[in-house]
Structure formats: C-alpha cells, structure tokens
C-alpha cells in the first residue's frame, strides 16, 4: 500500500470522512515516541545507579575512601570529548530538521544520495565510538595497575561496575552502527524506514549523555 501521499482521506461510511495529514510523518512520530519511552525506562535504570552512588557516598566517612589510589582525570576527559564528537558526527550525518539531507544530485536516487551523505559520517561515528572503548580499556588497565580493583570496597565496585555497564551500552551502540552502515551501503533506507537511523541516533546520544553524567560523578565530584 502506498504511503507517499501526504494528504489522504478515507471514507467512514455514511458520507463521513477523516482527513489525516502525512501518514508517514505520523508513523515516524509513533516510532520516535516508542523510542523516547524506551529511553525513559533506560534513564530510570541509570538514575538508580546514580541514586545508589549518592546513597553510599552520603554514608561514607570520607570520599574517596582514604586508602584508595586516585583516579586519572585527563584521559577520561579526553575520552568524553571523543564520545561527544561521535554524537556530533552522527547528527551531522542524519541532518537536522532545519537542514534535512535532501540534496539529490541529478541522476541519483534518494537512496544513493543518502548513501553518499550518510555513510561517511556513520563510519566516523563508529570509529570514534571504537576509539572511546580503546581509551576506556587504557584507563581500566591504568587504574587496575594502580591497585584499585572491582573488589576494593564500594569505590572500586562503583567505578568498574558503572563504567562496564556503560561500556556494554557502547558496544551495543557500535553493533547497531555497524548494522546501519551496512544497510546504508546496501541502499536499504527508503522513505519508510529511514526513521530507524534517527532512532539509532537517539540511542547513541542517550549513551553519550549518560557518559557525561558518569564522568562528572565518578571522576570530578
């Protein structure tokens, strides 16, 4: 069934009819709404972690505990910038509402123009996300070598537990990015499903925001 028409009407019998505007846009909004509800749920999950952190820290005699080695700040800060940059590249790829990616060159279909404009940015996002994980590994190794393990009281537990949970989300995000990249190359994105890329971007931005909060709480405060 075609959905290209932006305005369509349907009969409801007895001469009544309902005119619905842009069914495509409506369906896209439904998808986005579903994703937002999902992300709200995810946000509650991470909020719980931060609540646990605040609870334990409020009850601690001193924070960080006196006998634990200090965490590095410079490298994680750089890593935060890397992840932020990846959000910018992804957003640059899908374009904004004000500046949508609709520049179709003569003789080039919509899917091909999308491939030309989206693929490099998705690849860049993937590379930055991968770099983030690599740098994260360096941070973990350094902290581990300085004597803080996941069993060093709750300080170690919180540091490794929270960052690993976040890293798992980054891994999931990278797999999704890979899938988006392959589908872009295969010219799979039509008018009907290109919203999926936007949903993936929402998830990626979410993981990014969570990291910024985590960086501030774990390393700076």
């Amino acid at each position: 069934m075609t959905v290209s028409a932006h305005v369509s009407s349907r009969s409801l019998g007895q001469g009544a009819s309902v005119i619905e505007l842009k069914p495509r846009a409506r369906q896209d909004f439904t998808s986005s709404l579903g994703m937002m509800v999902f992300l709200a749920s995810w946000a509650m999950m991470f909020s719980t972690l931060f609540f646990a952190y605040a609870f334990l820290r409020a009850r601690a005699v001193s924070w960080p505990p006196p006998d634990v080695p200090a965490l590095p700040v410079a490298l994680p800060a750089l890593n935060t910038l890397v992840l932020l940059a990846s959000s910018f590249t992804f957003q640059r790829g899908i374009g904004s509402r004000r500046r949508p990616l609709r520049r179709v060159l003569p003789g080039e279909g919509l899917a091909r123009s999308r491939r030309r404009q989206l693929a490099p940015w998705v690849l860049a996002t993937f590379a930055l996300g991968f770099l983030f994980l690599g740098l994260q590994l360096v941070v973990w190794r350094g902290v581990w070598a300085s004597g803080l393990t996941h069993q060093t009281g709750i300080y170690g537990g919180i540091f490794y537990g929270f960052t690993v949970l976040h890293a798992l989300h980054v891994v999931a995000g990278l797999l999704v990015l890979l899938w988006v990249f392959v589908r872009t190359l295969r010219l799979d994105y039509t008018e009907h499903n290109v919203v999926n890329v936007r949903l993936c971007a929402m998830f990626w931005h979410f993981v990014d925001v969570v990291w910024v909060l985590m960086f501030v709480t774990l390393y700076l405060l």
Partner: protein, 586 residues
C-alpha cells in the same frame, strides 16, 4: 491508509501460534503461560500451608516425589525455597503475565479501536523474552543447593553469597531481570499504542476504565521496573564478581544492605499498584456493565487512578519504617501513604455509587468484580494500620502484613483477573464458558480466599511472625496452631475449588458453545467485531461517538428499545439530515 494497514492473516502453524505478532494470539500465549505458573505458585502455597498446619509430617500424594531425600517432609532449607518461590512466581510469573501480558495485549488495541499494537514485532519479542525468564526459573530448581531462598524481596545480605550460595539464587535474580526486560518491552508498546493508535473520536475521556488502568500500569512499569533491574544487576555483580555493594565492612568504603531495601522498594511500591491498577480498571468497567448504569463519576475514577499512580512513586519508605530511618522522613512517608487512601476511597465509593440502584445482573464476571471490591476493601482497610508508624512497629514482619498484601495483591488481583477472564473469554476464544460452573468456581473462591487471608491477619495480630519454619517452637504462638490449621484447610479447599475452573476452562476452550458477537450486551468497541475478531480486528476502523458506559439512557430506550448504546452507533434521530434553522434577519 497506511497508518494501520490491513496485513493478510499469517498462514502456517509456526506464524499462527508460535511466532505470531498478532496481539490477540500473544495475549492467549500469556494466558497459558500465566495460568501454568499460577498453578505452580498455588501448589507452593499449599506446601507452605501444609507446613503450618502439619509440621514435620510428609506432604500427602506428591511429597515423596518432590522431596525424596526427606521422605516428603518439608525441611527448613526447602521451606525457605518454597515461600520464596511462591512469592516470586506469583508476582512476576503468574499475575503479571495474566493481568498485564494477557489482558493488556488483548484489551488495549481492541478497546481503543486499533488493528494491532504500535510495535507488533516488539510484542512477540516481549512474550518470548518472558518465556526465557520462565525457563530460568524452572532451571533454578535443578541446580545444586536448590533454587532461591532469600524471600521474594531478595533482601541483602541474605541474597548475597553469604546467605544463599549456589546458582539457584543467581538464576532467579537473572530471571527477574529478564522478565523485567520483557515487561518493559510490553509496556513501551502499551504506552505508545494508547497515545498514538486511538480510533477517531476515542478521546482520553472516552476510553474504557480498563484501558486507563492498563495504561497507567504500563507507565509505572516503564519507569520503575528498570529500578529493580538495576538493583538486580548490582546484586548479580556482588554474587558473581565479588563486588561489595550490599556487603558492609569491606575496606575502601562500606557497602550497605539497606541500600538494597531502598532500591527494592522504590520499585516495589509502584509494583503493588502495578498489580492492582488493572484490576481496578476491570472492576470499574464491569460494575457499570452489569449494573446497567453509567460508571459513577467517570472522570473522578480516572483522576483517582492517576493520583494513585503518581503517589505510588513517593511512598516507598513505609516499607522501611523499622530500618532505622530518620523519624522525620518516616513521618513524611506516613503522610504520603495515608493520602493514597483518599483517591482509593474515591474509586471505591464510585464503584458503590455505580451499583447503587442499578439493575444488577449477577453474571460470573460481575460476581468476580463484586468479590474484588470486597477483598480489596479489606486489604485497603488493613493497609492503614501498616502505613501508620505507631501500629506498624508492632505489626511489621508479622502475618498481618502477609494477610494485608495478599488481600490487595493476591485476592483482589486474582478475583479481578478471573472476572476479566470470564468476561473476555467469549471474545478471546470465540466460545462461551459454562456459566453455572463459573458461579460454582466463584463462591468457594471468594469465601475461602477471605478465610485464608483473614486467618493470616488474625494470626499476625496475635504476634505470629511471617516466614517461620515452625511457629510452634515459640510457646507464645502454640495456641495459634488450631487457627493455622483452620486457615490451612481453607487454603486447601480454595486450591481444590480451582479444579472447577481448570475443567471449565479446558472444556470451554475446546468444546464450549460458540459465542455470539456481543453476549453481555455492552457497548465498548471490542464487542462490535466478531468473536473471535479477525486478524485485523476491524474491517473499518470505528469512529467513536460517546463514552464506554452508555446504559439506562432514556433516549436509547425510547428510540432503540434497549438500555444500552455502543460507543460508535448514531441514534436514529441524529442520523437524519438536519433541517436548516431559520436565521433571524436573513
């Protein structure tokens, strides 16, 4: 158009019954999965009652088979597992799938006039994720040291490796995490579907109260199940990787077992409303349908349910009055808790007002709805004593608490679900249930469920602590043995009377009388399509013209000769072309 296209019905066994994306099939899958585990959890409950009536005596019939090493006698270790798994199975693997999985899936799209959920694939995924969590639960019974034994609340440090070593507890915590993921997937669907796929004219204030109840439940699920998920993850880290979030006394900052209680109840208090809000919805609709009167103060019911939903998020501290909480904080929680009784009371009075002077039809769904009103009333009244600090200090951790939450979460949810099942059964399976057997199921269920949980209230008031393996080793509880025996025998009769339902259910599913389209003569949308509905629910998406409770409308009686109106039909007069009114001065 497009927004909700008609997809061809799937062909083949696999796409029809196993991996189906049709919300009606998924609902039925949840019915089966939920009823199976309801039976399982019920048998565990019988074992607990056996222990309190006849301690150290072998369980008759099945005892030797399930507890071979002790010759059918319940040992302290197996007793701990039994009451733990009874609670967890009932809450997460029986009531949740039955009430939210089955009726949420079945009712929401049909009652708002949609062809399916907003995300049908996610829906199927949700069901199979749920099944995998059930598999984890079953697997936990077969590992060394047995299944979970830390109580349904899974309090640390009992639930850490210190209290419950072995894989059983770990698998069950994993199962809860996985079932939480399934619940969230389903709830994302419900929330989005209600917001986006209501039929034209189906405004929020025309939605059946069932949909309101299920929708608010879904919102609570989306926001608070992840809290439990996080707590479960932290607990799993403690159990599997040796972190110390919930273990106190470690170097490098102390963990805190009380943290687990906070996380658990931040989820847990909304959860108890998650389990009752759908039942409130069912009851609010059913009393109106079968009293043949509009629901009294519909908007008030909606507001009350919404208020309870909001308040449920800020009262969790009343579960923790005795954890050394700051008394000022405790008072705040007490105040908020007692405020909840105001909207709950509004809802309750609305039900009574709806029944008042109605032409009541005592059909089986109506009987179950009235039973729900009764047991929920008892549960709500006893809750006031537990929400008040001064009385809670005495009653905390006694059987009074057990009786209270069983009246609200178990009895009301149980009777409410059965009312809903009897009501929507014709639409679900296209067949009619045997009404006589349904009533024969109702009366013993109501009477004995009241006696069982009433007995618990009385025992608790006399000081009977909950979860005691052998209460009678305490002299001050020995005189409660006859009472406990009476309660247990009531429980056994309650259990046996469920056989009537099992027989009725199976014989009706496979050989019941074919149901007509609208056997109960009610006006909500789902009764305007065939029983069972076609794959796409509605040939034409209906246009809604009025609210869900149009009964005893004098105009309808005059014009149509019946006492009810569907949500879509036009009155004959209104359909006639209007005459142009003379305009003054024209």
């Amino acid at each position: 158009m497009d927004l909700q296209p008609i997809h061809p019905a799937p062909t083949g066994f696999f796409r029809n019954y196993i991996w189906s994306t049709d919300h009606k099939v998924i609902a039925k899958q949840f019915v089966w999965a939920g009823l199976l585990f309801l039976l399982f959890g019920g048998i565990l409950a019988m074992a607990i009652r056996w222990q309190w009536a006849y301690p150290y005596e072998p369980i008759p019939l099945i005892g030797k088979a399930v507890l071979p090493r002790s010759g059918g006698v319940i040992t302290p270790a197996s007793y701990q597992s039994i009451f733990t798994m009874h609670g967890l199975i009932m809450i997460f693997f029986a009531i949740t799938p039955l009430m939210i999985g089955a009726f949420g899936n079945f009712c929401i799209p049909l009652m708002i006039g949609a062809r399916d959920m907003a995300f049908p694939l996610l829906n199927a995924l949700s069901f199979w994720t749920f099944v995998s969590s059930q598999c984890l639960v079953i697997a936990s019974f077969f590992v060394q040291l047995g299944t979970a034994a830390a109580g349904w609340t899974t309090y640390a440090p009992l639930s850490t490796n210190v209290g419950t070593p072995g894989w059983g507890q770990t698998l069950v915590v994993m199962a809860i995490f996985v079932t939480g993921v399934a619940t969230i997937m389903g709830s994302v669907n419900y929330v989005t579907t209600v917001i986006r796929l209501r039929a034209p004219g189906m405004t929020y204030m025309r939605m059946p109260l069932t949909v309101w109840g299920l929708w608010l439940t879904a919102i609570l699920n989306v926001l608070f199940v992840p809290v439990l998920g996080s707590a479960g993850l932290l607990l799993l880290m403690d159990r599997m990787f040796g972190t110390q979030f919930f273990i106190t006394g470690a170097a490098g900052g102390k963990g805190d077992p009380v943290l687990f209680q906070h996380l658990f109840w931040i989820f847990g208090h909304p959860e108890v409303y998650i389990l009752i809000l759908p039942a409130w919805g069912f009851v609010s609709d059913l009393v109106s349908f079968f009293a043949r009167k509009p629901a009294y103060w519909y908007k008030g019911s909606v507001l009350a349910m919404t208020a309870v939903t909001v308040l449920s998020a800020v009262v969790y501290g009343h579960h923790m009055f005795v954890t050394g909480m700051n008394p000022l904080l405790g008072q705040g929680f007490m105040l908020l808790t007692l405020i909840i009784s105001v909207p709950a009371e509004i809802l309750f009075l609305n039900w009574l007002h709806t029944i008042w002077k109605g032409s009541i039809r005592l059909t089986s769904p109506m009987l179950f709805a009235l039973g729900t009103v009764f047991v929920f009333g008892l549960g709500g009244l006893t809750g006031i004593f537990l929400g008040t600090i001064s009385t809670d200090l005495y009653l905390h951790d006694t059987m009074f608490v057990v009786g209270h939450f069983h009246f609200t979460m178990a009895a009301a949810a149980f009777l409410g679900s059965f009312g809903a099942l009897y009501f929507w059964f014709p639409k679900m399976f296209g067949r009619q249930m045997n009404e006589t057997l349904a009533k024969a199921h109702f009366w013993p269920s109501l009477i004995f469920i009241t006696l069982v949980f009433g007995g618990q209230l009385v025992a608790g008031y006399a000081g009977h602590q909950r979860r005691l393996f052998d209460p009678y080793q305490y002299t001050f509880l020995q005189h409660l043995h006859p009472l406990n025996k009476f309660t247990s025998i009531s429980a056994f009769i309650l259990g046996l009377s469920q056989l009537i339902f099992i027989y009725n259910f199976f014989s009706s599913v496979f050989a019941g009388k074919k149901a007509e389209q609208n056997p109960w003569k009610v006006g909500t949308l789902e009764w305007e399509t065939t029983s069972p509905p076609p794959h796409h629910n509605y040939d034409v998406i209906p246009t809604v013209r009025r609210g869900p409770h149009e009964y005893a409308n004098p105009e309808a009686i005059k014009l149509l000769g019946r006492d009810w109106l569907t949500q879509t039909e036009e009155l004959p007069e209104a359909a006639a072309p209007k005459q142009a009114l003379p305009v003054a001065g024209a």
